[in-house]
């Protein structure tokens, strides 16, 4: 597998998973503070 494809895939997955994890954590924290 080429280095370019590996990097592109790694960055894409990291960005998407990181954003989803971070936003869900922030949502959970916001809901807990609301309660």
């Amino acid at each position: 597998v080429s280095l370019g494809a590996t990097l592109f895939m790694g960055l894409s997955w990291a960005a998407v998973l990181g954003l989803a994890g971070w936003t869900l954590w922030r949502l959970w924290r916001a809901r807990r503070e609301d309660r």
Partner: protein, 518 residues
């Protein structure tokens, strides 16, 4: 909201679009469109929806009139009634394929068809495109009727009672099933031409920079971002109209987009394409993808389930689970499509929810039968192009201009931030005010020049590059005439609603005391 966004687009449409447009060459414009249009539109649509909800308006004619006190505003919103109604008619039909394949998996009906030709033959026999005697003629009609009935039943029970329960159970299960399948596919032995799942990943993520100059790839990528996030449909706005003034929009909108993208990029990209590349090679995968907008998943996954079954006799059960969960994800999306129309009939004509839902369901069923009957003549492709692709961008352009320019950027930014759990990076104000409408307008004009006009003059079919055949011409004309009839009917209904309720376009609506219970 994530339940609404995650649907057939992630696991069936995305792999096909990526494969047809060269994998890596598709992913670069895809991410750019997501950043400049997809995520900003998420916030814009939630903002437009909540603002409309203050005046108890759950439909785009009312929401646009609330943003712009001008007689034209309500008519601009007509497209926000036509698009979800039209898309609902064929989306439910596509959804019924997943239901049919879940049942076929249980009965191991397609077992034995392990080549792309055999599996495509099985699919096209079910669709009624070819007559190989594998299915009875009424099979697609029966599944479509059942799928439509389930949708309307869920809708008639209301948003909270219906969709939330479905999404709460179905989404985590679908994610889990997708992870299991991705692992199974990653461990598949090399295929006949030596391709492995890694070959599939390389195909998706190796950008051919020269192809980035092709406009159709940018248009397809933007179209996929619209379809997958359910933006430009009027459905997110309808949901957001039930939000209270202090509810968060920024963080929830971003979380919805991020969850959907995880389902699409990480899971959707790890299932159908790598599997298709292992079994049929890169060129084989591209050929299947070119045979129909949703075909890749239906042709490839049954082969995976048969492969699993050869070592562990649970392959058919995995098929039932996968197609069954896809059906559930489809229902959570399609139920949302009728929500703006139900809101319109309830709010403006005083109809009960059940009456509006069953009445609209009957209309969608009748229109959907035309898709089932005339699939091979390109009737569905025509509606998917004008309503499901062009219509989405049109709605997005209108709402972005009205919210970010007519309503003013300052008021729009403040409105989005009301009750916000996440202050947005100020660069997004610049993006939403200038880059998002610019990107949308460029797409609309580019699209018009490159695709819409040639399709309109029948120089090419909506579903592919070849010109419309003489045999298909009457059906293509009928598809366009019916869409036009829907536009005229909705325009008349909007005019009637405004007259009936005595709305003054220049004075605006009276604020509602509290958002109505969904």
């Amino acid at each position: 909201m994530a339940g609404n966004a995650v649907g057939l687009g992630n696991f069936l449409r995305f792999p096909t679009q990526a494969a047809v447009h060269g994998g890596g060459s598709f992913m670069v414009p895809y991410f750019i469109a997501l950043l400049l249009v997809g995520i900003p539109l998420m916030w814009i649509e939630w903002g437009v929806g909540r603002h409309g909800g203050r005046y108890r308006k759950g439909h785009l004619p009312g929401m646009f009139a609330a943003l712009w006190r001008h007689p034209l505003a309500k008519y601009l919103g007509v497209v926000g009634l036509v698009v979800p109604l039209a898309v609902m008619t064929y989306y439910t039909y596509l959804e019924s394929w997943t239901l049919a394949f879940a049942v076929a998996s249980a009965g191991q009906d397609y077992f034995g068809a392990t080549t792309p030709e055999a599996m495509l033959g099985y699919l096209q026999s079910f669709q009624g495109v070819t007559d190989t005697g594998q299915h009875r003629w009424w099979t697609p009609y029966a599944y479509f009727t059942v799928a439509m009935g389930i949708n309307v039943w869920v809708l008639s029970r209301g948003i909270r009672a219906g969709i939330e329960r479905l999404a709460l159970v179905g989404m985590p299960l679908l994610f889990l099933c997708a992870v299991v399948l991705a692992v199974v596919i990653a461990r598949l032995p090399a295929g006949p031409d030596g391709s492995t799942a890694l070959t599939g990943y390389e195909f998706i993520y190796r950008p051919e920079l020269a192809r980035l100059a092709e406009p159709n790839i940018w248009l397809a990528a933007a179209g996929q971002v619209f379809f997958t996030l359910s933006v430009g449909m009027g459905t997110l706005q309808a949901y957001a109209s039930y939000l209270r003034p202090g509810d968060d929009i920024t963080l929830s909108g971003l979380a919805t987009a991020a969850t959907n993208e995880t389902a699409e990029v990480v899971l959707g990209g790890s299932i159908a394409i790598p599997a298709a590349v292992v079994f049929f090679g890169v060129s084989g995968a591209m050929a299947i993808a070119q045979s129909g907008a949703f075909n890749l998943g239906f042709v490839t996954m049954p082969v995976v389930f048969q492969q699993v079954h050869a070592t562990l006799p649970i392959g058919h059960l995995l098929g039932v689970l996968w197609f069954g969960l896809l059906f559930l994800a489809g229902v959570t999306s399609s139920v949302a499509m009728l929500t703006p129309l139900v809101a319109f009939l309830r709010e403006e004509f005083g109809l009960r929810r059940e009456v509006a839902a069953w009445g609209l369901g009957a209309l969608c069923w009748l229109l959907g039968l035309l898709h089932v009957h005339w699939l091979k003549y390109g009737f569905l492709d025509e509606w998917d192009y004008w309503a499901g692709t062009f219509g989405l961008v049109l709605v997005a352009v209108i709402e972005t201009v009205l919210f970010m320019w007519v309503f003013t950027p300052e008021k729009a930014w403040a409105s989005i931030h009301e009750g916000a759990d996440l202050p947005l990076w100020p660069v997004f104000k610049f993006i939403m005010t200038y880059l998002t409408p610019l990107f949308l307008l460029v797409i609309l004009f580019w699209w018009g020049k490159e695709e819409a006009l040639p399709i309109l003059w029948n120089q090419r079919a909506a579903g592919g590059g070849a010109p419309v055949t003489a045999e298909a011409m009457p059906y293509v004309t009928a598809a366009r005439a019916l869409l036009l009839l829907l536009v005229v009917t909705c325009t008349v209904l909007v005019r009637l609603a405004w007259r009936r309720n005595g709305y003054d376009d220049r004075a605006g609506f009276a604020p509602a005391a509290a958002p109505e219970a969904p």
